[in-house]
């Protein structure tokens, strides 16, 4: 099994490493409703992994399992080589799993800068007392955090709205701010829940470029859910396809595109 995770170099020169996260036989039930049924797949270091499927297929639930918001009813989540025990979502975040949300979850009244700074929370070590005194450790930490945040602001080209309250921004920019906040935590695994929903073509192009740049520049592993098939096929290295809580396909975009089950799920077949 081990040589399955031999590192390799993609056509565009990125190195894909070993297994970062593995979902083993995950089942998720809400009472009698089975949202996810016995699904296994892996996410390798440095890759862009997409999860696609029709509405209600269980994609967001899957992402919530990865981010620790839901605890699977059955199955194991392996992360960085060991089984992840029961954890609170913030503990998962501390372990380096960052995310954005399908419905933007930013602090509308705060400036872009402050919003992105909240992403550094997991890196703030100074105690309440030290924060209150400010001078010394807390100050050093703040300066360092601000520097990291500024680098991300520069990277995502949102300098012009640094001091603008998030509530005043258009949708496309809010999405970008959310990405910035997730990046501020310096995650090793970044989860993007429909990063391009509701965007026009130009905004989608921008967002795609940023996702590729993040992956390339910071080496961040990315798992994303997206409806726009064109975008998914262009961006991702491998794709998991879900339908009615089951996995119906897994592989490179080309493999998935040729998979009959996937075609049926998307185009629909008469249910006999």
């Amino acid at each position: 099994m081990k040589d399955l995770y031999e590192p390799y170099v993609t056509d565009d020169g990125r190195t894909i490493g070993g297994c970062l996260m593995e979902m083993k036989n995950i089942t998720l039930k809400f009472g009698g409703v089975v949202a996810i049924k016995d699904i296994s797949f892996d996410i390798r270091e440095g890759e862009i992994r997409a999860i696609i499927g029709p509405n209600g297929a269980g994609k967001s639930s899957m992402l919530n399992v990865i981010s620790g918001f839901y605890t699977p009813s059955e199955g194991e989540v392996w992360y960085k080589g060991s089984v992840r025990p029961m954890m609170k979502p913030y503990e998962v975040a501390r372990q380096g799993v960052g995310r954005t949300f399908q419905n933007i979850a930013l602090f509308e009244g705060m400036s872009v800068l402050d919003n992105v700074m909240t992403g550094r929370l997991t890196h703030m070590k100074a105690s309440l007392w030290e924060q209150a005194i400010w001078w010394g450790k807390a100050e050093r930490e703040e300066v360092h955090n601000r520097e990291q945040v500024e680098k991300i602001i520069d990277f995502l080209e949102i300098q012009a709205i640094r001091k603008t309250p998030v509530g005043r921004l258009p949708y496309g920019l809010k999405k970008r701010v959310e990405l910035a906040r997730a990046l501020a935590a310096e995650p090793s695994l970044l989860l993007l829940d429909e990063p391009m929903a509701g965007m026009n073509v130009e905004e989608k192009e921008d967002m795609s470029r940023f996702i590729l740049d993040v992956n390339d520049e910071f080496g961040t592993t990315i798992a994303l859910i997206e409806h726009d098939m064109g975008v998914v096929m262009d961006l991702s290295d491998r794709v998991v396809v879900m339908d009615y809580g089951k996995k119906i396909g897994d592989g490179t975009p080309d493999e998935v595109r040729g998979n009959q089950d996937v075609i049926d799920a998307y185009l629909g077949v008469p249910h006999a």
Binding site: E150, F155, E157, Q159, A160, K163, E217
Partner: protein, 657 residues
């Protein structure tokens, strides 16, 4: 005369000026750039050191005397340094427009035979790599911003900072050579080569010598009393001669500080933070700023609105007089001081104009209302007239003699002659050396005595000695009935309305004038929002009946004003249409400096022009458009052609009586 002026001491090149500044202003700020949200600054001593290391690095890469070094990117200290470093090595910097598409860039790079290209970021590097296959002369591509560059083949590609480090490490090996190259620079060495925007045909490379740049910088600095403690914001394209004079020539001559914004979008914020003392902007920037102020005032509370209106009315009445040092009553002075405290001061602060001592606008005519608005706030905004071939300055307005309709008196050191057909000729120490590799054009523009044709028609006002520009000499034509046709004159009147972004008037050799109008999306969009008018696209808004009606009222007002002018009363607009797309440099309809390319537009939209003259009520058209990434597409539209009322001119009435 001044054309043979000798340098002051040994200050005969940009590097020499840099060395002097490093000695005399060592600890004063020379360059600032906002990076990661903080203004980083370099003193003259530090800048000189950085530039020297960069120059040593260039030598290590094998830069030869006379090589052309293209610089493509937005204004940042690194790019200015690369230009001076190239000059140190005896090479010639060639700044290019960063927003040019690959094929435009290919022409210029091929024409100057650039061996080195300094790029700002990946976007520019990509363009250069795209065209490198056709142009084999490019030996080294250097870039400033590392982002996204890791995977590129770095055989002929280098990070600018690495080159600087290499130069620093190799200084023992190359110092001697660098000193030798610097000592070789004379007042007649080429300082820079700038490509003209090319309103007609291919761009031409204007060669400017150290004499041109330094003499011009010296004269213009004395004219406006510029000092070492001045501050400017460098935000205009580096390829434009104005930026070269302000941010390189005058900055090095006076030793003042050049501030580079964080990015193009943050320019307004950065302007406010820096509050420059010396500022230049084309009319469009002043228009945009005024529009945004007015839009925000519309949304302000009634009290604020009333205060604003009250004090702006006062400012319009007495502001310009106070600025010009003319007598104003004590009561009005006191009221103006109150206004300064309540309105003008805060407004200037928001706009970033709190400290402006000298402000200039040029390139296009500025609307009198816009001009007076800024003047009435106490901002010393003036106009100048110039061109690349003159190292900018031909005429400019002295303090206290500022008017909206002239471009001022002859600049120091310049001689102006008006030909019989009204065309303006000039001769000055700033007059360019030649067009690169183009002796025919050089000969047809500059005569053996050094007089250069500007291509503009104008005249001196007798009582004041101020120069007035009418239009491009070649655009001034005759209508079918023999009346004078000066399109720019009418277009400028139209463009003074905030709703109108651009206008193109036709009528040369025809019996009546017609016009294309571009609406201003910000102004008209805001109007639509306030009037609950829904629209999905620029095209839809441009074709909205109420918009057409508004534009018609503007056109008719312009007709009334044009009819007042005896010489040009025939240029009234009889029919017009509102274009379905914005005129764009990417489509070749405008130059990169946003001047209308009349011939190109006439050719491209010939069907629309035909419609305007054959009396039809609407025209269906398809237009090719170029997207920012160079791909092509097309848009189609059915345009309404609108008739506008005209006024019988005064002298016609007289004749009829």
């Amino acid at each position: 005369m001044t054309a043979n002026a000798t340098p002051t001491g040994d200050l005969c090149s940009m590097p020499a000026l840099l060395r002097r500044n490093a000695r005399e202003f060592a600890g004063r700020p020379a360059y600032r750039e906002k990076e990661y949200g903080i203004w980083q600054s370099w003193t003259w001593a530090e800048a000189a050191q950085e530039i020297e290391w960069l120059a040593l690095g260039f030598l290590a890469l094998g830069m030869e005397r006379g090589d052309h070094v293209a610089v493509i990117g937005r204004n940042r200290p690194d790019h200015y340094w690369a230009m001076v470093a190239a000059q140190m090595c005896g090479a010639v910097p060639v700044p290019l427009y960063a927003d040019a598409v690959a094929e435009e860039m290919a022409y210029v790079l091929g024409h100057c035979g650039a061996r080195f290209v300094v790029c700002g970021d990946q976007e520019q590097v990509d363009k250069v790599i795209d065209i490198q296959d056709e142009l084999h002369q490019i030996d080294h591509v250097l870039y400033h911003d590392k982002r996204g560059m890791r995977k590129y083949d770095h055989e002929h590609l280098n990070w600018l900072h690495d080159i600087r480090d290499e130069g620093k490490a190799a200084h023992f090996r190359h110092e001697h050579e660098l000193a030798k190259r610097e000592a070789e620079l004379t007042y007649d060495s080429t300082c820079v080569m700038l490509y003209t925007s090319g309103t007609t045909g291919k761009p031409k490379g204007v060669v400017l010598s150290n004499r041109n740049i330094i003499e011009t910088s010296k004269n213009s600095s004395e004219f406006d009393h510029l000092r070492a403690d001045d501050e400017i914001l460098a935000y205009l394209p580096m390829a434009w001669v104005g930026d070269f004079i302000f941010s390189m020539g005058q900055a090095l001559w006076n030793g003042f500080c050049v501030n580079c914004p964080e990015s193009a979008e943050t320019m307004m914020t950065d302007l406010k933070e820096i509050a420059p003392t010396y500022y230049f902007a084309p009319p469009r920037v002043f228009e945009t700023q005024l529009t945004s102020v007015m839009i925000r005032m519309e949304d302000a509370s009634p009290l604020k609105k009333r205060l604003f209106r009250h004090y702006m009315a006062l400012a319009r009445k007495v502001g310009p007089q106070i600025l010009d040092g003319k007598p104003v009553g004590l009561v009005d002075r006191l009221r103006y001081a109150m206004g300064e405290f309540a309105i003008y001061g805060p407004l200037k602060n928001t706009l970033g104009f709190s400290r402006v001592r000298v402000g200039y606008t040029a390139g296009e005519a500025i609307g009198p209302e816009i001009f007076d608005f800024y003047r009435s706030l106490g901002i010393n905004l003036k106009q100048l007239y110039g061109q690349t071939e003159a190292s900018v300055f031909i005429a400019q307005q002295p303090d206290h003699e500022v008017r909206a309709d002239t471009v001022g008196v002859t600049s120091p050191g310049v001689e102006i002659r008006i030909a019989e057909n009204g065309e303006i000729f000039y001769r000055s120490p700033g007059t360019f050396v030649e067009y690169y590799n183009n002796p025919e054009s050089t000969a047809s523009t500059k005569d053996p005595e050094g007089w250069v044709a500007t291509g503009d028609a104008g005249f001196f006002e007798e009582e004041t000695g101020h120069l007035r520009i009418i239009d491009r000499a070649k655009d001034v034509g005759k209508m079918a009935d023999g009346h004078m046709f000066a399109p720019k004159y009418v277009e400028n009147k139209l463009k003074f309305y905030p709703d109108v972004l651009e206008a193109v008037v036709f009528g040369n050799g025809r019996e009546m004038c017609t016009a294309f109008i571009n609406i201003d999306l910000t102004a008209v969009g805001n109007w639509a929002e306030r009037n609950n008018i829904a629209y999905a696209s620029y095209q839809e808004l441009a074709g909205h009946p109420q918009v057409l009606e508004t534009i018609r009222s503007h056109v008719e007002e312009v007709n009334r004003s044009v009819a007042q002018d005896d010489m040009l009363s025939a240029c009234q607009i009889h029919r017009f249409l509102v274009l379905h797309k914005e005129l764009d440099a990417d489509d070749g309809e405008m130059t990169r400096t946003r001047k209308v390319r009349r011939a190109k537009i006439e050719e491209k939209f010939h069907d629309l022009i035909a419609g305007l003259y054959d009396g039809s009520e609407s025209v269906y058209t398809e237009t090719e458009v170029t997207y920012e990434d160079g791909r092509k597409g097309s848009i189609s539209a059915t345009l309404q052609l609108v008739d506008a009322a005209t006024v019988t001119p005064r002298h016609h009435k007289v004749a009829a009586e």
